[in-house]
Assembly symmetry: C2
Homo-oligomer: 395 residues x 2
C-alpha cells in the first residue's frame, strides 16, 4: 500500500514540476532515523542512513542515490525508477546525474514559510554545496516550498480513501464517547477512555498524546490546545472534544459538542441551542462557498462575520487548516489576515485539498460550542468527508 501511494506521489510530483517550471527536485538526507525530513514520508517510504539524494525530474525520471547497503530496501519498498548505490562518497554519482540532466534549477527542502518544506538541515546544505563546488549547480538551488505545498495538498484517490476511513473510525469513537460522558466524569477520564478506544483498535493518535484528545467541560474550561484536567462534567455543561487518529500514515481531526441536561430539562436552554446552531450554520455557509480559486481568507471571513453578526465573539484562531500526513498539513489554510499567517490566507484553494472547518465560540455560563468537520474540495465545490454534526448531542 505505502509503496503504491509513494509511486502516486512521485508521479504527481513530476506533473507539479512541469506546472511550476522546475527541472529537478532533490531531497537530500542522512540518518533519517534520527532527524527526518518531513518530505520523506511522502516520497521516500524507507529510511536513509548515509547521505542520500532522492531526485524527481520534470522529464519523468526518478532516481535515488543511496548507500550501497540500502539499495535493496529502496528497490523493494520505494517507487524510484532508478536506484544507484555508492560505497565511499555520494559526490561522484550525484555530480554524474546532474551533469547528465543539467537542470536549470534544483529545488531543495528549505523554507522560511513552511516547516513541512524545511527538512534540509544547515549542515547538509553545506555538504551539498561542497559536493557541487566544482560545478555551477550550487547557484541553481531554490526552495521546494511550492512543490511540497502542492504535493501535500492535492490528495490522490488512495489518500482520500485512507483519510475517509480515518474519519469514519474517529466518528465511531466519538459515538462511543457519547455513551461514556456523564456527570462526575473528569476531562482526564474521558480523554483516557478515548485514547484506550483508539489504542484497542490499533490506531495511533493524530497529535501529541497530552492533548489528543482535548476535552473541555463547562463554563470554566480553558483555551484551545490545553491538556485535559480533573475538572468534572456537571449538569448544565457544554462538553466538547477535539480528537484525531493516525491511520496508514494519515490523520483525522474532528470536534463534537454535547450538552448535559439539568434536572427537569428535556432540551438545551435557548442560549445554548442558539450557540450551537450558529456554529453549525456558519460551517454550512462556508461549505456552500468553498471551491477551487477562492481564498482561505474569504472562507474564514464568511464564518467569522456570521458569528459576530449573531452576537458572539469571534474565534481567536483560523477557521480551518489542511489535513494529511500531519493533522496540520499543506500550505494555505482558511486563515484571517493576521501577521503570523503570512501570505498563507491568500493562496488559492485547489481541487482535492482536504480542509477542516472549525469555528468556535463561548456560550456564557455553559462553555465552548464548537464543531470541526473535514471537507474535500471538488471541481465545483466541496464534499463533507465527515457526517456533519447537525444536532447538539444531549446527555
Amino acid at each position: 500500500m505505502t509503496n503504491e501511494i509513494i509511486k502516486q506521489k512521485i508521479a504527481q510530483a513530476v506533473q507539479i514540476l512541469s506546472e511550476k517550471d522546475i527541472d529537478l527536485w532533490m531531497t537530500f538526507v542522512r540518518e533519517s532515523g534520527t532527524i527526518k525530513d518531513p518530505a520523506m514520508d511522502m516520497i521516500g517510504g524507507v529510511g536513509c542512513t548515509w547521505q542520500s539524494a532522492l531526485m524527481i525530474n520534470k522529464d519523468g525520471d526518478s532516481t535515488a542515490i543511496v548507500g550501497s547497503l540500502e539499495v535493496e530496501n529502496f528497490e523493494r519498498f520505494s517507487g524510484y525508477k532508478n536506484v544507484t548505490g555508492y560505497v565511499k562518497s555520494i559526490r561522484e554519482p550525484l555530480n554524474e546525474y546532474l551533469a547528465k540532466k543539467n537542470p536549470r534549477n534544483i529545488a531543495v527542502n528549505f523554507s522560511r514559510n513552511s516547516n513541512l518544506a524545511d527538512g534540509l538541515t544547515h549542515g547538509m546544505f553545506l555538504i551539498l554545496l561542497e559536493h557541487l563546488k566544482e560545478t555551477d549547480f550550487g547557484k541553481r538551488l531554490i526552495s521546494s516550498e511550492d512543490i511540497i505545498s502542492a504535493l501535500r495538498g492535492r490528495k490522490s484517490k488512495t489518500e482520500i480513501e485512507i483519510m475517509k476511513e480515518a474519519i469514519k473510525v474517529t466518528l465511531e469513537i466519538f459515538d462511543e464517547t457519547t455513551k461514556f460522558i456523564k456527570q462526575g466524569k473528569s476531562e482526564i477520564e474521558i480523554a483516557n477512555f478515548v485514547k484506550e478506544r483508539a489504542k484497542a483498535r490499533g490506531f495511533g493518535l493524530a497529535w501529541e498524546e497530552d492533548h489528543c484528545p482535548s476535552v473541555f467541560t463547562g463554563p470554566e474550561a480553558k483555551s484551545a490546545h490545553a491538556a485535559p484536567c480533573d475538572r468534572k462534567v456537571d449538569k448544565g455543561h457544554l462538553v466538547n472534544m477535539d480528537f484525531g487518529i493516525r491511520f496508514e500514515g494519515y490523520c483525522s481531526d474532528l470536534q463534537r459538542t454535547w450538552y448535559v441536561l439539568k434536572d427537569g430539562e428535556t432540551k438545551a436552554p435557548a442560549a445554548v441551542q442558539k450557540g450551537f446552531d450558529v456554529i453549525r450554520d456558519s460551517i454550512q455557509k462556508v461549505a456552500d462557498n468553498i471551491k477551487p480559486g477562492v481564498t482561505g481568507f474569504d472562507m474564514d471571513s464568511i464564518a467569522r462575520n456570521y458569528i459576530v453578526e449573531n452576537g458572539f465573539e469571534e474565534f481567536p484562531h483560523g477557521l480551518g487548516h489542511q489535513v494529511g500526513r500531519e493533522a496540520h498539513d499543506g500550505g494555505g489554510g482558511l486563515f484571517p489576515n493576521w501577521e503570523k499567517y503570512g501570505n498563507l490566507p491568500f493562496l488559492k484553494i485547489e481541487e482535492s485539498q482536504v480542509y477542516t472547518i472549525e469555528p468556535r465560540h463561548y456560550v456564557e455560563g455553559y462553555g465552548r460550542a464548537t464543531i470541526e468537520e473535514e471537507v474535500v474540495v471538488t471541481k465545483t465545490g466541496c464534499e463533507f468527508r465527515s457526517k456533519p454534526q447537525k444536532e447538539l448531542i444531549l446527555i
Copy 2:
C-alpha cells in the same frame, strides 16, 4: 524523572561551555512535532510549536524563549531557569537577551560531521540570520558539534543507571531467546518472539523494527544490518542476534552467539570454539586497555590485529560506537582510520562515555561469531555494564 535528567544535562552543558570557551549555546527550533532537532531530547524535554530559542549560557543562566501558549509547559516540564513567552514574534525578546549577554560566540546546531549536532534546518538558519540582521551576532555563530559531542557522551549517574536497567532487561530477553531457539525456527520467528517479549514488557526498540533484532543463522547468513529472513536454524549452525531496547529514552545494544549441536556432539567443534574464544578474548583485551585519553583508533586496532593474528578476516566495520539516547550516539567511536569515519577515530576517549565493543568474524561452514558488550569508561579504565558472554551458548 525526565525533568531531573534535563536539569542535569543543562548544568553539565554550562560546564562544557566553560571548558570549550563558548559563551552561549542556542537551540533554535519550531514545530518539533514534525521535525525534531536531536538536541531537544537532551535539553528540551517538551515540544515547541512556534519559533523557540533554548539558550544555555556559560555564566550559568538558562533561558527559553517560547510561544506564549507554551510557557506553562516549559515552566512545568523543562529545566530552564527563565522562561519568556512571546505572542507575535520572537525577534524582540531574542535580541533583548543577546544584547544583555553580548556573547562573543554563539553555538548553534549545525554540523557536517555529526548528524546528532545538525538539527537546525536551513530555513530556520535563514530566519535566525534575519532576526539578527541589525546586530553583529549573525557573524558570531559557530557549530555546536563539540558541545553536543561532549554532552551526549559524558553520561550522568542517572543516565548510567537508566542504561544499566536497559541492559539488564535486554540480557533477560536474550536468556528467554536461548530457550526459544531450536532447529526449524526461522530467523523471522526468532525476531518476532524477541519483539513480542520486549513489547509485552512495555519496552520500545532501540532502532528500526525491520532489523531490531537482526538474527543470523548458519553459514549462509547475510551481512550486518540485514533484516531477518525465513532461513531456518539447523544443527551445526552458529546463530547470533543483535538487539536493543529503548527504556526511558535510552538505548541498549548487545549481541550474543549460540551454537546448535549436531547429533552426537556434546560441545562445539574446535573451529567454532576457537572462533568464539578469539572474539571473547579480543573484547577483554580492549577492555583491559580502554581508559580516558586513549583514542578509539587504538582500541579498534587492538581487536582487529588480534583477530587477524589468529587467522580470521578483519571485521568490515568499526569495533564499537557510543550508546545513549540513540543506539549510535555521541561523536567519537572505536573506529579504524577509514575515510568515512573522518576524524572521529582520533577523538580522545573520556570518562563516563558508554561504548559498545563488537568485533565479529566468520567461521567457515558454521556462520558468524560475534559478541557485543557495553562498557562505561571510568577514571582509570572501564567497567562492563553487560555481564560479558564468556562461553558459547549451546542449544
